[in-house]
Subunit: 221 residues, 2 copies
Amino acid sequence: MRKGAETRERILEIAEMSVLAKGFAATSIEEIIAEAGITKSGFFYHFKDKNELAHIMLKRYVCANDRVFDDVIERGHQLSDDPLQAFLISLKLLAEVMSDLPNGHPGCLIACICYQERQFDREVLNLTARSVEAWNARFRAILDNIALEHPPRDAIDFDDVADMLSCVVDGSIIMSKALNDPSRIERQVMAFRSFIKLLFLSTPQIRVPMPNSTGISETVN
Amino acid sequence: MRKGAETRERILEIAEMSVLAKGFAATSIEEIIAEAGITKSGFFYHFKDKNELAHIMLKRYVCANDRVFDDVIERGHQLSDDPLQAFLISLKLLAEVMSDLPNGHPGCLIACICYQERQFDREVLNLTARSVEAWNARFRAILDNIALEHPPRDAIDFDDVADMLSCVVDGSIIMSKALNDPSRIERQVMAFRSFIKLLFLSTPQIRVPMPNSTGISETVN
DNA sequence: GGAATACTGTACCTCCAGTACAGTTTTGGC
DNA sequence: GCCAAAACTGTACTGGAGGTACAGTATTCC
């Protein structure tokens, strides 16, 4: 019975857009069902209450986001064997993905929930925390891998550098909303990329032969 | 008649805390007046409706935030004549101020409003945009000033670097909320500081002879 | 064709934002 | 101490939304 799943998906999509634009409490069930073209009974057939809606919506969001990260990281690795170059490519791709939305980025559901945390139960809040931790751990692993071949030029904790990517993305989404300028996200991801370049590349932008131990001498922009 | 101003301030403080924890729509007037120890009529004597409350609350927040930035920037300039060193000191002070809150940072009202934008009128949204622009312009001016004496090591747009501070602060506030770890904000501001160091300081921490054209070789922490 | 699935319709309850407005207390200036 | 403005209180109401309950109907897949 696939039709039920379709309706469910439609409800979730409408609800997510509304929550990101107006907040959770201001998102009325009446409005969702009006847009989805169903009745209130139909809504409560799929979700036992608004809290369950939130829970399923969040799970859906986290999965979709994971897929985006998986994709850009994988494509980075496909395009370069060097972990640093691969990550720089991934960041460029991430920047592109983020700006490739017709009406600007709708927002990060995690951030949205954090600013309305008292409205949600432990389960939802735990899921937000666990997904943020998972992303941070993932970026951290990438940095460790990079450092094996490229010694960092500043004694900064890699956990903080890893965290910074999420922070920059979430922060720039807010700025893009505040200023109604979608391009800010792309530019901020690229600014973070610049930080990574400065942190790990021993050669500045202007090309010089590299006197390092490995003897690697790759082209870098 | 000073008593009115006192009540007003109490309402605004309670409302702000509630809005940052639960969102605007979920912040009930009933709850505010219960905590403030007044009646509903008392509330509507001070604010003609919830929207006016939002407007005044935001103005209050922006002023308070401006004062914090003014303070750290001024103290930075008092402690060093070099614009780069002054900014690095300001960032350190900012990191300290951000983490110096007993129950963690309550949140950024601007970010909170951006994630509930459909609930607010043009006036409120314009005020959020104008304050973000003002902060960005301010940081940009500082960077221009630094660049006069310290040439940047990467061809990055200073507007983006300036924006990045707000992004990192807002993003790290979200992360500190998501993970219930107030220290993330301080660490992220310090990570941004590291970026500034790498961008403008010509000598990295681990001393190696640099085969660059300028021949500059300064001691740096 | 039948059973599970996917809904609709109706009726009802509670809570809260917001409105309206008359009445009362408190405060500060003279 | 008086008085007027300021700072409230009390009461009563409207409307909309979340949520419940449950019987009935249509659709879909096997």
